[in-house]
Amino acid sequence: MMVVKRILFFSVLTSCVLSAIDLRINGANTGGFWVFTDTALQYKEHFEDKLKLNGTYGDLSLRTVFFTWFPSLPASLVESLTYVDYTIAYRKTPVNIQYGRFYTTFGRGLCLNQYLDEDFRVDNSLSGIKTEIEIYKSKFTMLIGKPRNIFFEENKYKIKNDLTDQIGGVNLDVGLIPKTALGGRYVRINTRNDLDPSAFTELYGGNLGASLGPFEAYGEYAMQKGCYPVYGGRLSGKGYLTTASFSIPRLGIVGQYMDFDSLGFPYGATYRYNEPPNPIKAGIGVTRGVDEKGYGGTITFTPIDILSGEASHNRLFTHDKNAGVYETVGKLIGHPNDRMEILAQTEYIIRDKIEAIVLSGQTVSYKKQEVKPMLELTYDLGSFYVEASFEMGRYTVEALALKSTYMDQDVSIAVGKPEFMVLTLKYGWRDRTPYWLIDKITREKSWPLVELSWDISNRHNLRILAGAMRGGVICTGGVCRFEVPFKGIRLTMTSLF
């Protein structure tokens, strides 16, 4: 039987290769090796590699992902993560069927949002089957699958959810009437913590959108019905969001308002299978759909070719306004001439009682104010360019009767040659570390960094980094990505083929 299977497999494979006119293959590989120290100043190693291979044969496609992560700690302390994912898809209008691992978002994510964000190292997927049918400018989706939520925190990959959970759902987006969008959806979730098989949780939702000239408006409502996990009792939640925008050449305005009450699922867990959006650009949530209300507005403009800018104010808080995030961002970009760019930016963020620290054995929530001005100058010298930046952060932290202020500063200079190489030198320092915040903001007082990004060819890039990073969204060597706090040496090779 085994021999017959192998012959059959190789026959299919050979016939695919021989009729290569229909066979399309592409792939990518990202490999990284790190040597770094943790907060206890212990040296650790990290090896990860992600190989992706996509093959298309007519209307059929196969997508495979081979992922390996090996930390240096013994397996009893930190488990390595290795997986092989595959998706077999059949796409022929009007049908799209996927079997294996896939991602999906219903509406704006109030009912279901299992997504991949490789720049932020978030991989929330479903393994099962998804069918989509597109007819009469409308799309109907049916799916069933088991979720797997992978996060990268404190230099470790972790699967955060219960892998026995199961999700089924349907979604309908109707586009029959021009300039309008109408949608409806239903999601059913069974978890191991359900009291019995009939105590599952359901989410219902609908949306309506319309556009008229430069104006656009969108509203979405969702409702959750189910049982509280473990101890029982009826769980009932609801939430809605509205957005309105105005867009004309050189000017864009967006306003958002949202109110979510017990909509986050699973209730009480640190992970989510839905993710109601919020207006905070810094990516901070308060309770992620459990008890949140917020609004925000952004204006972006380019009044003249040499000047563009952005102003934004956003708020997100609990219904009793006891905890929340308040954010104001201002940005101006000037191009005095073809060779020069000047970027000036300021962020002001207040995080009120959304994070906690341990003080005298007690867990205490605190308030943190951040003011972060930044100035960046880029000058193109023809065969190469120079980029210099200065940014600082002034932080005021209050908890109980304690109040402390400290400042972070960063200077960086990058020299780059197009299509070849960028060398970045960065130095960050902190004026003082309040003793009661040492466990929260680390004992580090300086962050020196050297990074070399080398384009070996258009399809291959090698990145060598040595030093320390505070973490956050970092743009060096021509690319932007999210980084966790890090101190050590890192080599990353990216290839497309």
């Binding site: 192998r6 494979l13 290769v17 290569a20 066979l23 399309r24 293959i25 592409n26 792939g27 990518a28 992706k52 996509n54 298309t56 997508r63 209008t93 991602y103 978002t105 704006r108 994510g109 949002n113 997504y115 991949l116 964000d117 490789e118 720049d119 300039k179 556009s211 969108y218 957005t243 867009s247 050449p249 050189r250 864009g252 305005i253 967006v254 958002q256 993710e275 959006p277 919020n278 952004t298 972006t300 403009f301 380019t302 193109d380 360019y385 980029e387 780059g416 040659k417 197009p418 299509e419 384009d455 258009n458 890039n461 743009c475 021509g478 690319v479 932007c480 990216t494 497309l496 083929f497």
Partner: protein
Amino acid sequence: MKKTLALVLFVFVFAGAAEDSIPAPDFNLKDIDGNPVILDSLLAKGPVFMSFWALWCKMCIKELDALKPAYDEFDSLNVNMLAISQDKERAVPQVKPFAKSHNWKYVVVLDPENIMRELFNVQAMPTSFIISQDKKIVFTHQGYKVGDEEKIIAKMRELFEKGGE
């Protein structure tokens, strides 16, 4: 199982390496105005340039701003210029006002589920591609450094001089 896996890998890589330029995968998405964006329809008009970007990606926006002055030249030569937004659903309402306010004339495509990113195996932001009219990826570029736009513009001019291949 391991041997089979190794063989599959070998065949895939071997088959892929047989050509210098990679065949472009088909796609069918929507732009910020709800219009369908289908690769075959675009190629019927001319070659395709596309750049993957996101609102949080400073380098991506710099690249698209730097290519803005070349838009009219390539549009008149029937080159399709696409800006593929990788912003998630939470940021989708901001994409159109942002693109309009930057006075971009590119076709801005919404890809909140990263379908395009997976199809084209984008590993870094930004990444740009040029697809010739015979549906081959003839140019790939990862990241953006000041001056990279000259290389992209030169490649598109070269492609057009060859008659879109």
